[in-house]
């Protein structure tokens, strides 16, 4: 068909369940439909669920009704105060924790051009599209993740030697970056010395270094 209609409003807006749900985001990021945009470098790897690993021929209708949410992490607007919504300084800092170990620092940005979120209109015979929402801000994480403070124990268990890391691994790089930040090592410190420094600093008993269940790559 040469022509597809694009409707300016969503037909389903009134019945959208998210309308009745409290929106925890700062006022600026709230939209009538509740939709917001979050951009980050790379992708979040969500662990594949049992349902997905199982029978791939699961009927779509069933899958729809069994929609579920997998926790990824936490979103924090550390400088945002609900009592002072006009102050926009809070926009400069947003944290996204992925899993318990990785933190990304980002900001809230006004989009250079507003973005319309389009969706296929439900319940029409021909293919039709509709504008669900027009979004003007996004939460943007442009830097790669850094390890959060409390994660050092997990990343560097006291029982483990430096041999645990190969010098190119992400975990190694992250810890090195962290140590640099804390001015505990400098560029000349090799990984064995780094490991020694870490051992002095970290003492708790902790499980051995484990594969992060969620990872930003």
């Amino acid at each position: 068909m040469p022509s597809i209609a694009l409707h300016p409003r969503s037909s389903a807006l009134v019945t959208d369940p998210s309308l009745s749900v409290h929106n925890p985001l700062p006022q600026l990021l709230q939209t009538p439909s509740g939709l917001a945009l979050l951009e980050l470098q790379g992708t979040i790897n969500v662990p594949t669920s049992e349902a997905e690993q199982g029978d791939p021929s699961v009927d779509n209708g069933i899958a729809e009704s069994t929609s579920y949410e997998t926790p990824i992490g936490k979103l924090m607007f550390p400088d945002y105060s609900i009592h002072n919504p006009d102050d926009t300084k809070w926009m400069k800092r947003v944290y996204l924790y992925v899993g318990r170990y990785q933190r990304m620092t980002g900001e809230v940005k006004k989009l250079p051009r507003p973005i319309a979120v389009l969706q296929k209109r439900a319940g029409t015979e021909t293919e039709e599209l509709e504008v669900v929402e027009i979004v003007r801000y996004k939460v943007f994480f442009k830097s790669r993740p850094e390890p959060g403070n409390q994660d050092l124990r997990e990343l560097f268990p006291p029982g483990a030697g430096a041999g645990l890391w190969d010098a190119s691994s992400r975990d190694y790089n992250m810890v090195m970056a962290m140590l640099h930040q804390l001015a505990l090592v400098d560029a000349t410190t090799d990984k064995y010395n780094a490991a020694r420094v870490m051992k002095h600093k970290i003492y708790h008993s902790a499980p051995s270094l484990r594969v992060l269940p969620l990872r930003v790559s």
Partner: protein, 399 residues
């Protein structure tokens, strides 16, 4: 570092994800979409036949977004970043999974959980951007391919793609049917309906109510119509610059002998009247043109170009310049004669193979000339200001 009391919001991923597309809006589009009576927009592609006939060198396949009056080319821009669409959580989070995010017991011994959550319901790896080509979008190239060429009393379609000629037998079409027929042509043309209508009016296209077919008249045919209507207007004392009834003009064109067949369909006369009507007085295509008054300057220009297109369409058929000016003047009402000077013709619409001759330049070639001269610096400037690396890298690669 995070302050201890800052609220944290649980961030989850919803399965299954939903399908969304992100469309970057221009300021005009944003205004249109947020207005109270926002119109439905259209995503248009040319029909398969038209896509073959009117090739766009920049894109073999494309989709245009059309508002009632504007056309934008949609370009899909891939991003290495991922854009997630969030919405407030519906709370269907499995408790067992929560430890992925939070230790089971915090220092206080309680489950340290944010009680508010947002969830990602979709991930988009690309956005749709809108572009307007430097020359804008025109329906004319498409109309030229989809409408049959109307020459006097012959229905030869000149090898073009002709409309399906459903000879409706006797009787003529109602205005509604006429409109339907026209809309069917427009449906296959990937520009906005206002631009379709402008193109249609511009080339004096018309629906023959008797044949039930859409046509574009040849330049000779248009010139012929003009000569007839001008003679008729002089005979009947119709002042073309003042408001007149189009019906009167049609009557003046017909021979006195009522039984004889009209020289051309009335719809064609109306199409020409629409074309020449003073810009803001012409009715929309949907409405019948009852009254009209012609714009002297526009009319003179149109007659000159039409004459040139009819008699000297190519360089090989160029005619003498003074001959042309004389003939042009002869085509005009007495009081308009001094209007006919070469400077009145649209720039680029004619060329002179040698100093004494003149010939017509068809619009499609005209655009190429102006495009090659204007597009290059424009593209370079665009590449500089763009924040999009796809665009930055695109130009040097091009031939």
């Amino acid at each position: 570092m995070a302050t201890q009391d800052s609220r944290s919001i649980l961030f989850t991923n919803t399965n299954p994800q939903q399908g969304f597309r992100l469309l970057e809006l221009t300021p005009e589009l944003e205004k249109l979409l947020t207005s109270k009576d926002a119109p439905a927009l259209e995503l248009k592609t040319p029909s398969a036949a038209l896509a073959r006939a009117v090739v766009d060198p920049s894109a073999p396949e494309y989709v245009n977004l059309c508002t009632p009056s504007q056309t934008y080319r949609i370009r899909q821009v891939q991003s290495s970043n991922s854009l997630h669409i969030l919405r407030p959580s519906l709370g269907q989070i499995s408790r067992a999974d929560i430890k992925v995010v939070e230790e089971e017991a915090g220092e206080t011994g309680a489950l340290n959980l944010p009680d508010e959550a947002v969830t990602a319901i979709a991930k988009c790896g690309s956005t749709l951007e809108l572009h307007v080509s430097p020359g804008g979008f025109s329906a004319v190239p498409f109309l030229e391919k989809s409408l049959g060429l109307y020459e006097k009393r012959t229905g030869d379609d000149d090898g073009d793609i002709s409309m399906d000629e459903t000879a409706n037998g006797s009787g003529s079409l109602s205005p509604v049917e006429t409109r339907k027929l026209r809309d069917r042509v427009f449906a296959d043309i990937p520009v906005s309906s206002a631009q379709c209508e402008a193109g249609w009016t511009g080339i004096c296209a018309f629906v023959d109510e008797k044949q039930g077919a859409c046509w574009r008249p040849s330049a000779r045919m248009r010139l012929n119509v003009w000569k007839r209507l001008m003679q008729g207007a002089i005979l009947q004392g119709i002042d073309l610059e003042k408001q007149f009834l189009v019906w009167d003009l049609w009557k003046s064109v017909l021979d006195d002998d009522d039984d004889s067949e009209p020289p051309f369909p009335r719809a064609l006369l109306e199409a020409v009247a629409r074309r020449l009507c003073v810009a803001d007085e012409g009715p929309s295509l949907a409405d019948e043109i009852k009254w009209a008054s012609f714009d002297k300057t526009e009319c003179t220009k149109w007659v000159g170009e039409t004459y040139l297109a009819a008699t000297a369409p190519t360089t090989s058929s160029a005619i003498g310049r003074s001959d042309f000016l004389r003939a042009w003047k002869d085509c005009l009402p007495e009081s308009w004669r001094e209007e006919a000077t070469l400077s009145k013709l649209q720039e680029g619409s004619y060329q002179s193979p040698d100093p004494t001759t003149i010939c017509f330049v068809v619009p499609s070639l005209r655009q190429q000339v102006s495009k090659t001269s204007a597009a290059a610096p424009a593209a370079a400037a665009k590449a500089k200001t763009t924040r999009n690396w796809h665009e930055l890298l695109k130009n040097p690669k091009r031939r």
